[in-house]
Symmetry: C3
């Protein structure tokens, strides 16, 4: 099989996370474990969150204050209950959650090198819940490589 | 052909959209139609908008108020004619359109599963025009899969 | 080799950029040169910055005022030394740099068509340094195509 050495393949899975309400939850480990299981050497991982009020974020994984500060900044920038918003079907934090999602990302792609995600030393992958109450969030993963 | 079952292929196309000036325009259907035509089972779709004053966004597709609120929020956050801006070659909404683009995304990747885009129930794909006047916008699509 | 015509391949590299402190630095040329060297016709390029205080951005490459205005807007939106922030291990611009990164992107994917990046006429690729002092920044590139 002369092609096998550089034949690209793809793999997909889906992960569910229970959030505890607004805030950043690190998901690096679970993602990295799946990537390790698949066992590719080089490639590209794409994560996609199937919601409109939660984001995916790469941020510092060292000082927990960073996550708290991020959330505090966004709470000030997009205040709950802002009279500007008409859409409030699910409460004061409904539309702010959509705006926070628009200001961040629902999708991330991360290269894979030497069998590992090419994250920098301080980078962790986070699921950012923007609603005040706990929610069940689904992330779809697509991995391409060889 | 023993490889055929898992051989990856790629497809590309380009779509043009006429916008009506500032605001979100849903493009999910046209994108999904092309994906269905290509007929892959599993893969990854990437959309890329070839402009610096329009974005791609995944947002709620149910209540139209969400789109109006998003636009209203961004209009307040990045006001047209803000004296902070020096670049105003094309008018008061020129630089705000660039800032709005920087705050959102010009590219989105969405996994494909079971022959469909893995969008959540409430997720639609939107082209967000940031200029006040109508523009012709081009979106390049890249589809990878098998 | 009947498959050769549509066999996908992938390539990766890493680039280091020395920034001069806060501001946008165009990296289009160096990225395009590598893409040209690899010599694919159609595909998808992904760039990923391995830091939590620098971003990747696609913006207008014509008027330098655009870059200055972008930076000025973000400096006002996320002020250095804001008392809201607790995390200030590396100074007044530490947490603002993280917030600016969260508001923008650490990853970009750009389709390749006819042997070139499918960038629009006015689009350039920028590395956005959010810290005040110069830093060495690493960008990982993944190129898929044929």
């Amino acid at each position: 099989m002369p092609y096998a050495a550089w034949m690209l393949r793809q793999f997909t899975t889906s992960m569910t996370f229970e959030t505890r309400g607004r805030g950043l939850r690190e998901i690096t480990r679970r993602v990295a474990e799946w990537v390790a299981e698949v066992g590719l050497e080089t490639g590209l991982l794409t994560l996609f969150v199937r919601h409109t009020s939660a984001s995916l974020l790469i941020q510092e994984n060292a000082d927990p204050d960073v996550r708290a500060d991020l959330d505090r900044f966004f709470a000030r920038l997009v205040p709950d209950g802002d009279p500007l918003f008409r859409h409030r079907d699910e409460g004061d934090d409904d539309m702010p959650a959509h705006v926070r999602t628009a200001l961040t990302a629902v999708q991330l792609s991360i290269p894979l090198a030497d069998g590992r995600l090419a994250l920098g030393t301080w980078q962790g992958i986070y699921l950012w819940e923007h609603r005040n109450r706990p929610h069940r969030r689904e992330v779809v993963l697509h991995l391409l490589g060889e």
